[in-house]
């Protein structure tokens, strides 16, 4: 019997990062902009995607990967807008991993412009898992409160854009969009902030334009 010490130095998220890097490379080569949407449950991810589907109709082609613990409900809502959608039910897992996205990628049409990935509703765990996306957007809805960025810093730290959603509710709930944005910016300077009300159609054009610009950069190889 021999005892031995072995230096390993391997990142537990290493396999996920590797798979994510392969997905990113493939999507870039196909000229598809992938966006990972991350937030608490009920902060308006699916409603926002429905609004984007209407904005892009006839101009850009989008598809959606839906992550949920159970049910096909979100994918059905997206399909009702004429947009292809794939539902990943994690069966309990609190986040999507790159391998899960990789499995459905083969079925995604080649001539796509945007691939939105709606993560499992959870402001904590999904932040640790790269899915191969080009842009990560974190949503914070008015009813959740403007004090959330510092309570869940990782989600904001890893995001490219902050979408302040359900702003039509601001007259009814204690939520200061400027305070929420300032707090998020103290964690992640340079974060792009978009005030949105998908219900009223406010801010959706600006956000749609932001993704179109990013798509242009990706296709000209400047991403």
């Amino acid at each position: 019997m021999t005892e031995k010490e072995v230096i390993v130095l391997r990142d537990l998220l290493g396999t996920n990062k590797q798979v994510a890097a392969e997905i990113r490379k493939e999507l870039r080569s196909r000229g598809i902009l992938a966006v990972n949407l991350l937030s608490s449950p009920g902060s308006g991810k699916t409603t926002l995607l429905e609004a984007l589907a209407e904005r892009y109709r006839g101009r850009f082609r989008m598809a959606v990967i839906e992550g949920d613990i159970e049910t096909e409900r979100d994918a059905e809502r997206i399909r009702a807008k004429g947009v292809p959608a794939w539902q990943i039910t994690t069966g309990g897992a609190c986040h999507l991993e790159a391998r899960m996205v990789g499995k459905v990628l083969g079925g995604v049409p080649a001539d796509l412009d945007f691939l939105f990935i709606e993560n499992v509703g959870n402001l904590v765990c999904p932040a640790s898992f790269d899915l191969g996306e080009e842009l990560r957007c974190v949503l914070l809805s008015a009813p959740e409160g403007d004090d959330k960025p510092k309570k869940y810093p990782q989600a904001f730290l890893t995001a490219d854009a902050l979408l302040l959603t359900k702003l039509d509710l601001v007259p009814h709930v204690p939520f200061d969009p400027a305070k929420a944005a300032e707090e998020a910016l103290s964690i992640k300077p340079g974060l792009r902030v978009f005030p949105v009300s998908a219900l009223r159609g406010q801010g959706v054009d600006e956000l749609a334009g932001y993704f179109v610009e990013a798509l242009g950069r990706l296709r000209s190889g400047r991403a």
């Binding site: 130095l9 396999t15 765990c125």
Partner: protein, 120 residues
């Protein structure tokens, strides 16, 4: 809550290392857990205890070292340790800080036993 999937990845690596070194058992696993990794050491420990049964690491001890967050300021060059919150440089107040340490979860080293004689 995602500690179980992290521990599943940990065991994929342990099995690979055990094959590589022809180990009969793994007796110790040393993990470095970043303060900003979103993994809770206590939850990693309980996931490890559950997962290890009937594996090559069935009798292994998990040692966790917590790694504090460390930033470097790209503007003034200051290097500091500090928890999340306001990621501004304490020296110049700049926001142009780079995260150096504290985000990853890394298996640093393991101890294992092999059947063979010690290497000469």
């Amino acid at each position: 809550m995602h500690e179980l999937s992290l521990v599943a990845s940990l065991f994929e690596i342990l099995e690979e290392k055990a094959r590589e070194h022809r180990a009969v058992r793994i007796t110790m696993v040393r993990l470095k857990v970043g303060e900003l990794s979103c993994a809770v050491p206590e939850l990693l420990e309980s996931a490890f205890e559950t997962y290890k049964k009937e594996t090559i690491a069935g009798g292994a001890r998990l040692v966790i070292e917590e790694v504090p967050v460390r930033f470097r300021c790209r503007d003034c060059g200051a290097d500091r340790a500090g928890k999340e919150g306001t990621f501004a440089c304490p020296s110049c107040g700049g926001r142009n800080v780079e995260l150096l340490e504290g985000r990853d979860i890394v298996i640093e080293r393991i101890e294992l036993e092999t059947d063979g004689p010690p290497a000469a």
